[in-house]
């Protein structure tokens, strides 16, 4: 778009998403995309993942509907690569840390690159590829290229984590590069968030709290931890190009993997709304002490006011402590006269009779429930397990039928609003 359009209002630079729908996947001689079929060279993929911190890496596909389970799921990434125009992908990791979100981006829809295996302090996440629980995770309906690994005996766990993250992102980019010459199935124009209201619709901010609790519980923005930062207004299209990358492996049910940040559900829902307009995304750290939580929350509310946003939707990552980051923000927003909605998971015990929140808001009233974290569900026996041979949480064979809390199902209670899970009063 030239920016010289005088026929209507001001035009804004934006991002063009070139979407390639992947129908079928396989391992083969070379990495290529032909007619919706993605072929990946395992040898090339393993070369991309190779690092002195990893003694061994391997890749394999698992697809929706298979009698399969992925255990010890770490991060997941949607394959994306930059086409014509400005900027790089995964800035700070794969491309230099420069503002992202302009030009064109190729997206392999229906595919994820998934790391799975043991890391210390990672709480075990499980993905079901079939059965009732498949619908609870975004990875239950994607073709997943699962990366399994053995750490080098002399590598620190921090180095293993760093190597995995870099490898996963590079591999995701390489897969999407197979689509650079292909005709997309859909071309989606994503205008940048406008600086002023475009019509009568209210401008709603997506306030996105990122977990910042140190190694293995950290989220990166342009390659650096968000810890210690103040609330920052970014364009939603920066997320599309991977400005936010997850290194957070706690609370699998309450996790926001890179894949979800790339497809920010609240930003997407606001874009899809005819009655509201996406104002912008405000990213915030989740500090570990109360005074910092209060400061960050007050500043996030003030930033909304300064930007003239009419309302805000606030999301979190992680367990009970992160409830406070949402509660403080929705209360701070309401105090400034900005209507606010908070997304919370309920932590109501296995019976669903205990108090659902650790730190509820005191002024704001509007809350969305993404389901009870503690309620258990039964998973059937599976033929194939990836990511490990055991489910450590229950000390059980990874193939067996097993009862697990929703908390262990990867993204089941997606704090960023991906899922359909919620709670109702039993009658």
């Amino acid at each position: 778009m030239s920016g010289n359009d005088n026929s209507g209002g001001e035009t804004h630079p934006g991002l063009t998403r070139l979407v390639h729908a992947i129908e079928d996947v396989e391992l083969g001689e070379e990495t290529k995309l032909e007619g919706g079929r993605l072929t990946v060279s395992a040898e090339e993929a393993e070369g991309i993942l190779a690092d002195s911190a990893l003694a061994q890496v391997g890749v394999s596909w698992v697809s929706p509907g298979e009698s399969a389970r992925i255990v010890k799921v770490l991060d997941a990434v949607e394959p994306r690569a930059k086409g014509d125009g400005a900027g790089g992908i995964f800035p700070g990791f794969v491309s230099p840390a420069r503002p992202a979100g302009l030009g064109t981006t190729h997206v392999l829809r229906g595919v994820a690159v998934v790391a799975a295996g043991y890391l210390p302090r990672a709480q075990e996440g499980v993905v079901e590829m079939s059965g009732d629980a498949a619908v609870l995770s975004p990875l239950g309906s994607t073709h997943n290229l699962v990366v399994e690994f053995e750490p080098s005996s002399d590598a620190s766990w921090g180095d293993v984590d760093t190597a995995l993250r870099r490898g996963l992102l590079k591999l995701a980019v390489r897969l999407a590069e197979a689509a650079l010459e292909a005709d997309p199935d859909a071309v989606e124009e994503l205008p940048a968030a406008p600086a002023q209201a475009q019509d009568d619709r209210p401008r709603v901010a997506a306030i996105t709290n990122l977990q910042t609790q140190g190694t293995f519980k950290d989220v990166f923005v342009y390659g650096s931890s968000m810890a210690g930062s103040l609330p920052t207004l970014i364009d939603p299209n920066e997320l599309e190009d991977g400005a936010v990358v997850s290194g957070q492996y706690g609370h699998p049910g309450l996790k926001n993997p890179t894949y979800i940040h790339q497809n920010h559900p609240v930003a997407a829902a606001l874009r899809a709304s005819e009655e509201a307009e996406l104002g912008g995304v405000i990213i915030c750290p989740e500090p570990v002490d109360q005074a910092q939580k209060e400061l960050v929350s007050a500043l996030a509310a003030r930033l909304c006011k300064t930007c003239g946003f009419d309302a805000a939707i606030v999301t979190k990552e992680g367990g009970g402590n992160a409830d406070a980051d949402v509660a403080l923000k929705v209360d701070a927003l309401e105090e400034l006269g900005i209507p606010a909605v908070g997304l919370f998971a309920e932590m109501g015990g296995t019976e669903g009779t205990a108090p659902p929140l650790v730190a509820p808001p005191t002024k704001a009233t509007a809350m969305v429930s993404t389901g009870n974290y503690d309620e258990e569900l039964e998973l059937g026996e599976v033929e194939r397990a990836l990511g490990g041979e055991r489910i450590d949480l229950r000390d059980a064979d990874a193939h067996e039928a097993i009862e697990l809390p929703h908390a262990a199902i990867y993204c089941a209670l997606s704090p960023l609003g991906w899922g359909r899970l919620t709670c109702e009063d039993a009658t």
Partner: protein, 341 residues
């Protein structure tokens, strides 16, 4: 219907705190508040027996609820009434455990306590009707319980109108739309001035009044307790890293310190590097022993109590709190330092 009534040792008239360790006993008649309750219920239903138990025993013994129900079985009950427990924590925990276990056995059950009672959350799906804060509100409370018992016996639901204070059970379901789309609908409603609509009602947390200061610390026994997941290296008893369902106790006898490498924190909610390097950051045994040697404190409780406070349900936490209080109370501990993370 044949009713068995559960009460504590105090309301049974057998004694106060000195009888708190007493195990359960059965009387084949209504006892204490049960006499008034029987009058209010009328002739249609009969309190055929009363089981009573000491508060420490009932709240601090894992099998207590089963023992109480086994005794109640001798009277062949159809309905169990427990309480009213008012704000008494151990009594409330016991009442809830008894009615929850009765429900498991397929019996009708109802309890009564104040909404601040820590036992409230443990009743599960069993209705709990409101009591006053203290026994001074016994009369009105028993009238409410009697009315609820009549409805329950008739197969009717006990709701807010009957004074129900226990929350209805929340169950997971799939909504038609993703949470993000529902959030947009909700924010539009909120922009339209709607302050009622929500998918989730906030819980009312009780405010805990701290106990008064210890009068003479040099005479007092001090306990060290933590929710920071500090366990012997290798976590031999498998304390959970989050969503704890248990707590543990470890001996401090003969120890002056907790050396690096012998203890570790398994808590999944914070970076444990500093705690693992110096376990005293979680359980300050080193300085506590110094204070003990100096005579600044009377003595140190010979065990530390530990659980993990990461994603742990409030109900479980309250339960652990009551059990810790019972344990420390029995051991005549007058002060505790709870390190939180």
């Amino acid at each position: 219907m044949r009713i068995v009534h559960y009460i504590n040792q105090y309301f049974a008239g057998v004694g106060g705190e000195e009888e708190a360790g007493r195990g359960p006993e059965l009387r084949e008649e209504s006892v204490g508040p049960g006499k008034r309750l029987q009058t209010l219920i009328g002739d249609e239903h009969e309190i055929v027996a009363t089981v009573f138990c000491g508060d420490d025993y009932a709240a601090g013994t894992a099998e207590a609820a089963e023992e109480i129900l086994s005794l109640a079985d001798e009277a062949d009950p159809e309905l169990i009434v427990a309480g009213p427990a008012f704000t008494s924590g151990r009594y409330g925990v016991a009442c809830s455990a008894v009615v929850a276990a009765a429900h498991e056995r397929g019996l009708k059950a109802i309890a009564s306590m104040h909404e601040d009672n820590p036992g409230l959350q443990d009743a599960g799906v069993v209705p709990v009707v409101e009591s006053g804060q203290t026994a001074r509100r016994m009369k009105g409370t028993l009238e409410r319980v009697a009315a609820a018992v009549q409805k329950l016996a008739a197969g009717e639901q006990i709701g807010e109108e009957e004074g129900r204070i226990s929350r209805p059970r929340r169950v997971n379901v799939l909504a038609d739309a993703p949470a993000a789309a529902r959030a947009v609908d909700l924010v539009l409603a909120r922009l339209g001035g709607d302050t009622e609509r929500t998918e989730l009602a906030p819980p009312d947390f009780d405010q805990v009044m701290p106990a008064g200061p210890v009068e003479d610390l040099s005479e007092a026994s001090l306990a060290l307790v933590t929710e920071g997941g500090l366990v012997p290296a290798g976590n031999p008893d498998k304390l959970e890293s989050s969503r704890a369902t248990l707590w543990l106790r470890y001996s401090l006898d003969g120890r002056d310190s907790l050396p690096e490498g012998e203890f570790e924190s398994v808590d999944g909610g914070f970076s444990t590097v500093a705690a693992d390097e110096d376990p005293h950051r979680m359980v300050p045994l080193d300085v506590a022993r110094e204070l003990e040697h100096e005579g600044a404190i009377g003595g140190l409780h010979p065990e530390y109590l530990v659980t993990t406070g990461n994603g742990t349900a409030v109900a479980a936490s309250k339960h652990f709190g009551v059990e810790w209080a019972v344990e420390l109370h029995k051991a005549k501990v007058q002060a505790a330092i709870l390190s939180a993370t």
